[in-house]
Amino acid sequence: MKLSTKKVGKSLAALAAISLLSSSIAFAQDKTYKIGAAVYGLKGQYMQNWVREIKEHPAVKDGTVQLTVFDGNYDAMTQNNQIETMVTQHYDAIIFVPIDTKAGVATVTQAQISGVPVIASNTKVASANVPFIGNDDVEGGRLQAQAMVDKLHGKGTVAIIQGPIGQSAQIDRQKGEIEVLLKNPQIKIIEMKTANWSRAEALTLTEDWLNAHPNGGISGIISQNDDMALGALQAIKSRGLSPNDVPVTAIDGMPDAIQAAKKGEVITFLQDAQAQSQGALDMALRTLVGKDYKPQSTIWERYAKDVKWGEGTDKVYILPWVPVTGTNADALYTQVTGTK
């Protein structure tokens, strides 16, 4: 409901802008751009943050960009339809957060042929011609596995809670995890099963695992996202164990997990939704405005050490994972929840 009323508001604003433009065509140097963001789904907190942040981009706030957000409802076909609609409606550029790296390739190529630039954010599109900004999930997997290895001093038995099998994030994160764990032969993977990104499912699964391997049979749990890690943490606590007995590592940096990390109950790494969304918009504007465009988001400054804007035409901008620690937890929590 909220989205649709906003959309109505935006199309009204667009109409107003068009009439303004036609009346003052001589001064029309400050062109407005119609940009669409096709995100895979708005039911999770992460994409909600992503959308909130892109709306805070200076170019959206000053009206240079008229942004419309499309909710893909976790379905590749829905997303493809939305991109086709945007092309038909002559959007100037599309920012795409795909549910799957491959499912959108054909549609995206079609959009590019029609002259609509597409920027991928958060998840890559498996096509060399689509610029990408986001975190490297393989690296994320490596980081969380390495954190577990360090915590266990290189020795022990671990269980891995997987995301939905076959999703890009699950595949890549696991690739990184396995890579690190194989380098540490003293660490054994004794359980590996999906909990579909769900806290409730991970809770049940961990309860059962703790029964199947009692008395310290599981030394640590690697969870491929934060929500599942919190479910595992719940199971560990209600078993009367402490997170020190069975450490849990995760990635994403959701608000609840940042709070837990502050207390030292989980180890997690933040991927910055603001950097992914606002960075993508800067990249889109660079292709539309030309080489005079200077990026406007603060994120380029924040990550200046790891990511260089350069000419703004790089094909890949890889953002760093930020370890959540006791000292930065409060600041990150404020950043992630948008409370100012």
């Binding site: 409901m1 907190q45 099963k193 049940t204 059962d208 029964n211 608000p255």
Partner: protein, 331 residues
């Protein structure tokens, strides 16, 4: 006359024979599922030494409690030949309502009541659509599945409600003596709704409406009222389940309960309640829910892939209905 009848010798052996067969069928009808359940438990006990531990059983019961509460309400609905597809969404909506009230500091009683009230109200709408507007239950509750889910996201802008007070969390993670509170809630719910169904006129009416609506109507039963009421019951229990789930996961998540309606329906159907209404019981549903719980738990203990878990559950559902179909044909 009487003596004469008793004296006729011929049919006696035949009748004992059919009696025995009828008795066997009756026994299978009644104890078939518990038998399967016990067999499954035995297999699991041999396969994993941890299956038969007190701790594991407490976990199974706790894990079953949410689906069990939903399934009890679903039994009422299915007995009237209806279906309620919206329980998962109602669960999420009620959980969020309840958590919001709890975080505003209104106290435990207000929070739980808010959750159950929200669930019951959505149930009232379901009941109105089915009983008064005569929309087929499948369609009416399918609509509610979508509406209630959307409302859940609107309610808190898609974010979970966290930082719930301790006394609220106790509903999910607390214990009363050695037994988890969700298990106790589940047990109380099952007991109450079993007694209502079995020992009250209202209970009889539910069977009557599902068994033969026309004759129920001609014998003066308020069919519309009864039909209306079962959706309220289902909504109310979905609300309660939502409260317990929010407490169990220490936060009310707007995406909680996705496809929970399918597990609830599965429990009812495995438990021998007929989708065509009129026959079934709460006890059967309890065994159905426990069977699903044991399968999930057992396969987790054995480290079997969740792919097989889904296959196993699907096969058992189909088998359960197949048995039901055969049973009817033989009669």
């Amino acid at each position: 006359m009487n003596t004469k009848l008793l004296a006729t010798p011929a049919p006696a052996p035949v009748s004992t024979n059919t009696n025995a067969r009828a008795r066997l069928r009756y026994a299978l009808d009644r104890f078939g599922l518990p038998l399967v359940f016990i067999l499954l438990c035995l297999v699991m006990a041999f396969a994993s030494e941890y299956f038969m531990t007190w701790r594991n059983w407490m976990d199974i019961l706790r894990q079953t409690s949410i689906n069990g509460i939903l399934a009890v309400g679903m039994t009422y609905v299915i007995l009237t030949k209806g279906i309620d597809l919206s329980v998962g969404s109602i669960l999420a909506f009620s959980g969020l309502c309840s958590a919001l009230v709890a975080t505003q500091g209104y106290g435990l009683l207000a929070a739980v009541s808010a959750g159950m009230f929200a669930g019951a109200m959505l149930g009232v709408i379901n009941g109105f659509m089915v009983a008064n507007l005569t929309i087929p239950p499948f369609v009416a509750t399918l609509g509610m599945l979508s509406v209630a889910r959307g409302m859940t996201f609107i309610l808190n802008d898609g974010s979970p409600v966290t930082d719930l007070p301790e006394n609220f969390l106790a509903l999910g993670i607390g214990k009363f003596g050695p037994i988890g509170i969700p298990i106790i809630i589940f047990a109380v719910v099952a007991l109450i709704f079993w007694m209502v169904l079995r020992y009250t006129t209202y209970g009889r009416y539910i069977y009557a409406v599902g068994g033969n609506e026309k004759s129920a109507r001609t014998s003066g039963i308020g069919v519309r009222k009864v039909t209306f009421s079962v959706y309220v019951v289902s909504g109310l229990l979905a609300g309660l389940a939502g409260v317990v789930l929010a407490a169990r996961t220490t936060s009310a998540l707007p995406q909680a309960g996705g496809s929970y309606e399918l597990d609830a329906i599965a429990a009812v159907v495995i438990g021998g309640t007929s989708l065509s209404g009129g026959t079934g019981s709460i006890v059967g549903t309890l065994f159905g829910a426990l069977l699903i719980g044991v399968i999930n738990n057992g396969l987790n203990l054995l480290g079997v892939s969740s792919y097989y878990q889904q296959v196993a559950k699907g096969l058992i559902i189909v088998l359960a209905v197949l048995i039901d179909v055969w049973r009817k044909k033989k009669r």
